[in-house]
């Protein structure tokens, strides 16, 4: 077990850790995104969906950070705020400029955002709806190059060809339209498009969730390979914990617009400190029928709380199996409970929660 921990990946993350201070590519501070709820003839605002409510986390250069939680927890909204597809309700999205300065993307106008839109790109979930059906692949992948006057004519074609080859598609097919490709191939096209402008940060929102098992493994491997090759940094949004575990260095767990836990992947999976993380881990079906009996599955009752009307105290308290009096009236702060490991639970230190050991057993 401990022999396993002293492998290369452990070393590289601690190297990352020590360089942390000057190596932050993205620093999200107190980010808030509330959607107004309107009612009546005058469309009066009667409340807010607090989709993202005061979250802070950072992503180091070259790192892959996972954003995980049930649907409705605010993952997509957080990603879209970082891409500035939304205006922020509050907080900052600090992004490291080429010259090393941290720039707050929050207040920038559309025009001012332009150079950053080349550096922060997105891979979408749905390979069927995210590509324009009336554009041939050469335009889908090449348009960002053309629009930003990076390349044109033969040079553009050559760049598209090499990008396609790099993501495992035949360059000869660049004049074809999306409908001529399978789901996995379309996702490759989407990845080629995201990479066409040499981005520094790629936000992947459920990028493999719609893919079949055999294709999913191919795309996950591709995403990993491209990271090394292009020195990419990923914010990887997914509800799938086994995918997160494979691809991420560090994981941020969200629940109803808030962060409940942050830790390095291995830490988080082996020793979760928040009951919500424990429940999520426990809900993942284990692909080994011999583990059936051993597993005391924690079945979370009820649904994700309504972000327009969250519960008092700890938002998770109505579903928590360890709930105490304090939980329903005091909001737990996100705090460091072990080195580099943050959790927002009053009883994080007292509880002994179950994670998954490297053998795949629950322990």
């Amino acid at each position: 077990m401990s022999a396993q921990q002293t492998n290369g990946s452990q070393q590289s993350t601690s190297a990352n850790g020590s360089a942390a201070a000057d190596n932050v590519l993205l620093d999200v501070k107190n980010l808030q995104k509330w959607f107004p709820i309107t009612a009546g003839f005058f469309r009066r605002t009667v409340g807010h969906v607090k989709a993202v409510d005061d979250i802070s986390f950072h992503v180091l250069q070259g790192e892959t950070v996972g954003l995980v939680g049930e649907s409705g927890c605010g993952k997509t909204t957080a990603g879209r705020c970082i891409l500035r597809a939304y205006d922020l309700t509050g907080g900052q999205v600090l992004f490291q400029d080429h010259d090393g300065k941290m720039v707050d993307l929050g207040p920038l106008t559309n025009n001012e955002m332009k150079p950053y839109r080349q550096q922060v790109r997105m891979i979408f979930q749905d390979p069927f709806n995210s590509l324009n059906p009336r554009m041939p692949v050469i335009d889908i992948v090449g348009d960002p190059l053309r629009i930003n006057s990076v390349a044109s004519g033969q040079e553009l074609e050559d760049r598209v060809a090499s990008l396609l080859a790099r993501v495992g598609l035949r360059p000869e097919y660049m004049r074809r339209y999306p409908h001529a490709f399978s789901g996995g191939e379309r996702q490759r096209i989407g990845i080629a498009r995201a990479l066409s402008l040499d981005p520094r940060l790629v936000v992947a929102d459920e990028a493999v969730s719609a893919l079949d098992v055999s294709v999913r493994a191919q795309i996950l491997n591709l995403i990993k390979d491209l990271q090394e090759e292009f020195n990419l940094t990923y914010l990887f949004v997914s509800h799938d914990l086994s995918v997160i575990e494979y691809i991420c260095d560090r994981v941020v767990v969200m629940y109803v617009g808030k962060i409940v836990e942050v830790a390095e992947t291995e830490e988080l999976f082996e020793q979760p400190f928040h009951p919500y993380t424990e429940a999520l881990l426990s809900a993942v079906p284990n692909p080994d029928p011999r583990m059936r009996q051993q597993k005391a599955r924690i079945v979370l009752e009820g649904d994700v709380a309504d972000p327009a009307n969250p519960p008092s105290g700890c938002y998770f308290h109505p579903r928590c199996r360890y709930v105490q009096d304090q939980c329903s009236h005091e909001t737990p702060e996100l705090r460091e409970v072990a080195p580099g490991h943050f959790a927002a639970c009053h009883f994080a230190e007292e509880l002994t929660l179950t994670g998954v050991t490297a053998s795949g057993e629950l322990g």
């Binding site: 492998n7 399978s182 055999s214 999913r216 509800h239 079906p285």
Partner: protein, 356 residues
Amino acid sequence: METPVLIEIKNLKTHFFLDEGTVQAVNGVDFTIHQHKTLCVVGESGCGKSVTARSILQIVDQPGRIVEGEILYHRPDRLTGIGSSGTTPNGNGADGSSTTEIIDLAALNPRGRQIREIRGQDISMIFQEPMTSLSPIHTVGNQITEAIKLHTDMLDEEADEHAIELLRRVGIPRPEERLGTYPFELSGGMRQRVMIAMALSCNPALLIADEPTTAVDVTTQAQILELLEELQDEFGMAIMLITHDLGVVAEMADDVVVMYLGQVAERGDVDSIFHDPKHPYTQSLLKSIPRLGISRTLQRLDSIRGMVPDPYNRPTGCMFGPRCDHFMPGRCDAINPPAIQLGDGREVHCLLYEEE
């Protein structure tokens, strides 16, 4: 423990006749569902799982139809004679209690009375998207009581009470109050439960669940799977669970059918499929899934090269041939592998196992 056979599918072929050509969606499938057991059908999208399920109920969409094969339904005695049909047992015993009526569902008229009786009463189906089987314009209560009244002799009040009992049983809080709500007023997980309650309202012998948890979170999935297990213990129905998630298969199945491009790759009991897979497709599939606890230690996932061919360009010979690591030129591209029996109910369609 072996239980009696409930459904026996033999060489089922369901094809779609389109202008572009014929889609051989299900192309010679054999498997058996036993009473009270859970059979999982697993495979990637487009391999024919849903069409197989829909063939059982004779609800294949136009322009598709069953072109060959049998779906033998061994009707449990408790269901024989329910309803108004007067079907005659064509089983072999003369003794009423031991006789099992055997009906070839594939031979029934899709719009005929007999299959309509069987749908909902003997065999019911739930879907990935609950709104496929729930009406948006009727209240939850109305829909369940209608289903109950259609297939039983219960009357209004009794049907209402039964509906409330069912809703309570599937974990809907304050069910009396929910009778008057419309499906859109419920959360996804609650809708799923209502659909399950409706499907079980007549205590069917078989529940077909077509990707019931594919669109929900793992947490809701765990709730639904647990509910299905409990309900099976209580009601005793067999479950045919369709999924593409091997984790779900490992947690739920007694028996497994692995499908690829309209055919069975292999089938067997769940332990053998996971711990001693025979077909190269099953072997690769099992290696390509990220496993919780293990995947963080992996540099790369094994993956299957290429992709599922499109239905108009089916390979010759073995359907998996072009992606298979054990491909034998001259054989695998020439012979469509027949079913090879390996004993203990295991069956594989792969030429590697052919006796010379």
